[in-house]
């Protein structure tokens, strides 16, 4: 019993949490802003790259493959450090927040590419042929026929990717961006008490749980609409 009350006092001190909550909320807001803006840019990058991947332009296709492999195959932490600390040597000086968004967007773009590519591949080839036979260009076929049908199917994996990105944005703490995790760590040092970490964990859940619930909901609806 004594162990439990020690644990509660150390990791769940209501007094401390209450005191630092405003700072944590601000950190959480940063987390949401950084991950949401990166997700949006990542979707644009991923959409374009997926269209290149499914087209027949060989050179661009190869480049797209290299991009996806590179950013899915190396740690995000490394990519963040590279963008912030290495790019200045080639004359690209990005302030930390911008470097953070660039790294997160480009990284998530690689994952989103594969999500969209799978979505596009899952559309019956007959759809493309029907559109092309009407004289629609490849671009118009994508825009009016394939992408609209793809969106419904990629929404669940895309949301999952967003959840992953929200958690991964905590890596931005290495370039001194005060997102949720870094704020919590600072509070821990300040108060000499790790309750801030517990509070941060709860805040992450508050952000991500609605999203993961939304995914299950969408998946169920998709199952029903595919059934008929």
């Amino acid at each position: 019993m004594e162990g439990l009350s020690n644990l509660l006092e150390k990791y769940f001190s209501i007094g401390i949490i209450w005191e630092i909550l405003p700072y944590l909320l601000k950190g959480a807001l940063f987390t949401v802003i950084f991950s949401a803006s990166s997700e949006i840019i990542g979707i644009i990058i991923g959409l374009v790259t997926a269209m290149i991947r499914t087209s027949k332009i060989k050179v661009l296709n190869q480049l797209a493959i290299i991009y996806v492999d590179l950013f899915r195959g190396t740690p995000l932490l490394m990519q963040i450090i590279f963008v912030y600390y290495a790019l200045p040597y080639v004359g690209i000086n990005l302030p930390a927040p911008l470097a953070g968004i660039v790294a997160l967007s480009v990284n998530s773009g690689a994952y989103v590419t594969e999500i969209f590519r799978a979505g596009i591949d899952s559309i019956d080839k007959g759809q493309i042929e029907a559109a092309r036979s009407l004289g629609m260009s490849y671009a118009k076929t994508m825009r009016y026929i394939i992408i609209p049908q793809t969106f419904k199917r990629v929404l669940p994996p895309l949301t999952n990717e967003f959840v992953a990105l929200i958690k991964d944005s905590s890596l931005l703490s290495v370039i001194a961006i005060s997102e949720l995790l870094r704020t919590a760590k600072e509070m821990m040092t300040w108060k000499l008490n790790p309750s801030s970490l517990t509070a941060a964990a709860i805040l992450y859940l508050v952000i991500t749980l609605p999203l993961t619930r939304l995914v299950s909901h969408m998946e169920n609806r998709l199952k029903k609409s595919d059934a008929h």
């Binding site: 007959g126 759809q127 036979s133 009407l134 004289g135 009016y144 049908q149 008929h228």
Partner: protein, 241 residues
């Protein structure tokens, strides 16, 4: 109107079309018969440039459409195609399916496109389904929408690839009737079908394909009444009982 010269198509090592020569004149209804795998679909798809020929030429109104400088989208606008599997766009209404290319390819005004689309849907007997979605339609209705969609571009030639094969028997007639009307209106048509009744009644010319070649061709009457090639005879005996 369409002239095909020594058309070959290979898929890797598989030689599917082995030198097709064919003339289709304006207003003709060319029925394409042949056993499964003989290359009928590949021939139709080549005409619509959905397949790139390995060699040979396809002339459309005197222009070689297999040439490098050809704007394929322009060519396809002039050739309508209807598929066995309908391929309607499920996220659009029936009218949306029919008007899409008018709006986005020809860039016709909305009201005008709606008028053209509505008229066509009335013509194929689907006035009351205009605002429905494809998944609310029977197979026969879907195929009639697909025909209306292809006709919306006002094509000069229509290609039909086994358009009734996926339908329940009782729905075949409504689709064939639409095609019959179309033939009567003077449309140039190439029709791959196993519907011998339709082929006999509506077809003006028949070609019989086997293993990537046209083994017999002629007027529909002649071929049905007096087939010369043993393969044609055997095929017709089999399908006509």
């Amino acid at each position: 109107m369409i002239k095909i010269v020594d058309l070959h198509k290979k898929f890797g090592d598989l030689h599917v079309l082995k030198g097709i020569n064919l003339n289709v004149n304006k207003g003709e209804v060319m029925v394409i018969l042949g056993p499964s795998g003989s290359g009928k679909s590949t021939l139709l798809r080549s005409i619509n440039l959905l397949e790139v020929p390995t060699s040979g030429q396809i002339f459309f109104d005197g222009v070689d459409i297999t040439g490098k400088k050809i704007d394929r989208n322009r060519v396809r606008q002039r050739i309508g195609m209807v598929f066995q599997g309908f391929n309607l766009f499920p996220h659009m209404t029936v009218l949306g399916n029919v008007t899409l290319a008018l709006l986005k390819v020809l860039k016709i005004k909305k009201e005008e496109a709606v008028k053209i689309g509505t008229d066509l849907l009335i013509r194929v007997g689907l006035k009351d389904k205009i605002n429905g979605y494809p998944n609310q339609l029977s197979g026969g209705q879907k195929q009639r929408v697909a025909i209306a969609r292809a006709l919306a571009m006002n094509p000069e030639v229509m290609l039909f690839d086994e358009v009734t094969s996926a339908l329940d028997p009782e729905l075949v007639k409504e689709v064939l009737d639409v095609m019959k009307d179309l033939a009567k209106s003077g449309m140039t048509m190439l029709v791959v079908t196993h519907e011998m009744g339709f082929a006999k009644e509506v077809g003006s010319h028949v070609i019989f394909m086997d293993e990537g070649l046209i083994v017999e061709e002629g007027l529909a009457q002649d071929i049905f009444e007096n087939p010369k090639h043993p393969r044609t005879k055997a095929f017709l005996d089999a399908v006509l009982y």
